[in-house]
Subunit: 122 residues, 4 copies
DNA sequence: GTGGTCTAGACCACT
DNA sequence: GTGGTCTAGACCACA
């Protein structure tokens, strides 16, 4: 697949987000090994350094741990940690920003939900 | 006031967004003159070229028109143009992305609205 | 009428060109008085200085002469002078540039003429 | 070579036009990398920011795509896009203007072609 | 007064 | 290495 890197955010961040999503979805479970840097680099035609950087940030946030000579593994509390921090981030920053944006565009959540129920959104 | 330039996006783009907001809010009306490049530059301690770039992009999108030797003026259809394009952008891209993000975090719009009504959000 | 100042060239130059056209078309004849600066400025809502500058350039090229206290008048040899200089300018610079541009776009004069005869141009 | 920057239009625009020409001529092919900003800046003794602006406009028109950290590349449909848009622009605006100008100068296309065939134009 | 362009030099993020 | 952004300061054309 090569439908990647749509937006303007750094590739390493998009990659990181993709792994985070897999953790949240349960596609990746605590104790599971992550694909090696080289595998991912080859698969997505990326510079290994770019992949490394994604893994590095995951490790910094203790979502992943390096087992020397073996590779990277998802840590035990990762999913809970993610749910907590991302939810807070969402409720404190993203959601209010969305509401403010809707207000300036004259849109209301209720209407959107109603039109969605009526089939207004794909 | 100096509550400026919060995020990491380029200043000229934040400046542009600020003007767009003023148009949407009605603080700036069609036919109104925008502050001169030099005024803004002085007020916010910016390089005139930075301000210029914001105005340039607004002019490219025909939200603003240049009257030579006189300055920049908000165009007639600007507000409508903005509402249309931004709403489409929101409904097509941003809102679905928000819903998807909420889904992955196990949050629901209804609950958010309910807790907001109950005073759950500042 | 206010269908003016379409392009990006300076207004004074567009104004000048308009007068030149009138001379070439014969709408303005040698010895005729040109409208006063103030008249034109009022009619087109221009700064008198802008109008002045157009007249000044015409005078510099001796297409027009100032009669003190009376106004500006088209000179005797103006039309011939214009035809000669503009034709030279056209043949030496503009026409070759047009041909080169057409070449790069894969268009040929013959085809254009043919399609024009066939009603291809409005 | 230093036969550069003849006319009064901004350098960045002349630079842009030069690249467009190379695309039309086929000197630059889809997928080709464009010279880096710094290369061009050094070669023509320009400020990188000036070169950057030319590239920026090309990117805005999707004639060129940025591959982050790697450079700028000519896009796939670029040549077709150019041919279409420039031809339309030519037929709709430039060619009629040329004809009108020739009419006012008492010149005819046929004569020009004839004299060209007879060696009248270099 | 207006906006437009350019330079020189610096710093940043990304690959 | 790549492009992107910003500053400081200068000069120009236009109205």
């Amino acid at each position: 697949m090569n439908t990647n890197w749509h937006d303007n955010s750094p590739i390493y961040r998009q990659l990181k987000q993709r792994i985070v999503s897999m953790m949240l979805e349960g596609l990746l479970k605590p104790g599971d090994a992550l694909p090696s840097v080289r595998q991912i680099a080859a698969e997505f035609k990326l510079n290994p350094i770019t992949v490394s950087r994604a893994y590095q940030e995951l490790a910094d946030e203790t979502l992943v741990e390096k087992r020397r000579g073996l590779g990277m593994y998802m840590t035990d509390g990762a999913r809970e940690k993610l749910l907590t921090s991302e939810r807070e981030q969402f409720l404190k920053n993203e959601w209010p920003a969305v509401l403010e944006r809707m207000r300036s565009l004259g849109l209301s959540v209720k209407e959107l939900l109603a039109s969605a129920n009526a089939g207004g959104v794909a």
